[in-house]
Symmetry: D2
Subunit: 257 residues, 4 copies
């Protein structure tokens, strides 16, 4: 009886990502400007909001073991799968939608842990895409692209909101920043607002890098009922530079999967 | 400075769905067998679980106005976009991931409304895919395929759990059902378990169809402060047959978008 | 022994065209401006060159029975496959490359039949692509698009070469035509060059439409050795309008495949 | 006027091959079993037929400068483009169809040079596909896959036709070879047919590898009218092993493009 309609399966397309390439899934917040306003996020950076993003990314990595590194900034997060990854036979839409769904569901479920006094008016939503990168350098350049983006945006936003918080309108702040270079913004921050950009916390300037770190974990032995210390690989956020060589030298396992 | 890395954007692929075709996005629960066990769903059908699914689908339709009809059963939901739809310029991965993310986030956020006494142990996750259907008939056959699937599975599950609830093991129930036809299951239900399958609620036998129904809505006028009645199109679950011609005759607007 | 390397097959992509859509394969001459100069094609239109193009298209249609209509103009030809077509399981690259290859091979092989006194300096080459069109109207609009293109280009070229043949430089001709409308070109042709565009042969103004026409064919019976007349469907070039309704009313079988 | 129909361009898909990957275009003869019979090719190998294939591949490489190596055997040829290649912006169908078309057109045009006494009954046709290979090893494994295929097929065909030429039927030859291993075929050839497979020409056992070799070319100087010797890179067929490391060590430029 079913066979009469089953022909419709033939219309599904196969979207297998090219084998032996790095897979990067990037999720992006949908309408996050409005979402951050509706939920009164602090400007330029809301610490609980960033920590919730990081928590969601950690949960995604705990669930999807294939991910070896993730990078997040603003309302986006990128998850990197090694060239050898065969998750869902590398079906791009299945991988992308699963990650977006997991992230968004964790965001809604864990909201109150990070915003205990703020009611979630509506759930945050994220889209996602998969991109293939053939070489290690391509993948690293992708992550560098996102971290440079973080740097540029954070410097702009920090300066913009310093101007606004000093009493000017948003329009005036935009005007003041139009055409300025990086060093001009540093100068405005320091001279007009007494802010040394270099002293701003790394989590804001660098974004968040999550890798699996060896971590001492205490569990209760099911046999003895006694606490047992074990070393486990736990996804852990770092706020470090991933553009230079140093990070990759310190974590050689990332490129040898 | 950014330009050095921006070349990585060239690796993104364009996945625009063919214009002038029906788009169907189907989401599927990931590992829902385990999820339903961990949260003690009733068998064969858990009413709050179904109602939560329907609620999420309603919320998706309230948000994404392009969807004209949705159909859900078990741990899956299909959302249908008209041929003229230009959401996200018809980018398949963006549409699919947004729907999966919205659905899963609503599921996590609204869980406690439907399971006030059950703690959500971990968020439910859904993958999604987009399929294009060129003709009205193809799209209707897709929906028929899913409704036939619902029918077959529900008859099986109803009989299976009736046998189990009567005291047999799951293995014995499987054994008893192996090779049986539809009418055999009806017979087993009626003779051995005193269940007339025809009297089982439509929501279980037909699944849930959501369309926008004209609904009387009472709002408070911002001008007069008085309650005002208006007719609004509200996504509403129905538990009806969508395989036959009748449903489509009653809702001619669905095929003329 | 082979298995060690056979994994490379996994890198091949599946490029099946969406079922139940019209498939159009368009071939385009590669570097035909130079090709036409090297082989001294008459301007604006070279009759043997057009007839060779048509012959190749006829040969393609004799070989590939699925094609129901073809349309050619300038150095391009479009071949239309019905929605039900399952040639090569609708693998787009296989269909497209086969058509381009067949066309180009016939062009090289049959060149001397149409240019008995011109040596083929190097073979003409054609690229090709497949496009899916869901509705009959989409497919007809595609063909209309190409025929309108033929019309515009032929009017321009006819006027351009009339000016050049009257003794002006190509630069001067370009200059004279810049910004002119259709009726201006008609006027220039009539007033300055004594050419009534309406009297120009249809093959130049309309391009070539090839459909399978019932044709009386005489063959020698293998049994009796006598000539036998049969009616056969033979791909036949017509030089007619395919934008209006009339053509499609006269050939209703084209849209009912 | 054109704009009314131009919307149909929106239905074209973008099929850009992933950047920074090796591109391999393989052409395959269509219905070559019949083609070889209709034109009385010698069995198991027809030398002029192979030389015509090689000539066509050389002409393709002379035209398409991006190709760095080609490999041919039986009725197929593979053309390899370096990772940096940007031909036609890496549009897969355009690249694939152009190569198939060029090859087939040369085959038809140059047929009489290799078969001066055999009339070409109908043109040979080739389909083509593009495959991306991310790493050097993947690309080399692809070529190894084809050369192993050549080896296996040639040993089989050599033995098969030796048996047939000794007076047995094709069915009997098939029967005799069923289940035999490589060494069995060597044995059959040597013992029953007095053929030492190792002495068979390399062109049959290895297939044909075309790379650009530095070649002394004599041209007439347009200035002095005198003959001038120059070193030019000329696509040249070799009949060598490309599975082992030696070939790649001898031609290091192939992997450093």
């Amino acid at each position: 009886m079913n066979s009469k309609y089953q022909y419709v399966r033939e219309f599904e397309t196969v979207d297998k990502a090219l084998p032996n390439t790095w897979l990067v899934v990037r999720i992006d917040g949908r309408g996050f400007h409005r979402f951050s306003q509706e939920h009164d996020f602090a400007k330029p950076n809301d610490r609980p909001a960033i920590e919730l993003m990081n928590r969601c990314a950690v949960e995604v990595m705990k669930d999807i073991k294939d991910i070896i590194i993730a990078y997040g900034q603003s309302d986006e997060y990128s998850f990197v799968f090694p060239k050898s990854c065969n998750l869902y036979s590398r079906r791009a839409s299945k991988i992308a939608s699963t990650i977006a769904s997991l992230f968004a569901a964790n965001y809604a479920m864990r909201w109150h842990e990070y915003f205990p006094t703020v009611k979630l008016k509506y759930p945050a939503c994220f889209d996602s895409r998969v991109v293939c990168y053939p070489s290690d350098q391509n993948m690293r350049d992708y992550l560098s692209w996102r971290q440079v983006d973080c740097h540029i945006n954070n410097l702009y936003n920090t300066t913009f909101w310093a101007i606004v918080h000093s009493g000017k309108t948003e329009t005036a702040a935009e005007e003041e920043l139009r055409g300025t270079f990086s060093k001009d913004k540093h100068e405005i921050l320091f001279t007009n607002h007494n802010i040394n950009y270099n002293t701003i916390e790394e989590i804001y300037k660098k974004g968040s890098v999550i890798i699996r770190q060896k971590t001492k974990v205490t569990t209760i032995s099911p046999n003895t009922g006694q606490p047992v210390e074990r070393i486990k690989l736990v996804p852990t956020p770092l706020y470090v530079d991933i553009i230079g060589q140093e990070f990759w030298d310190e974590h050689p396992e990332l490129l040898t999967k």
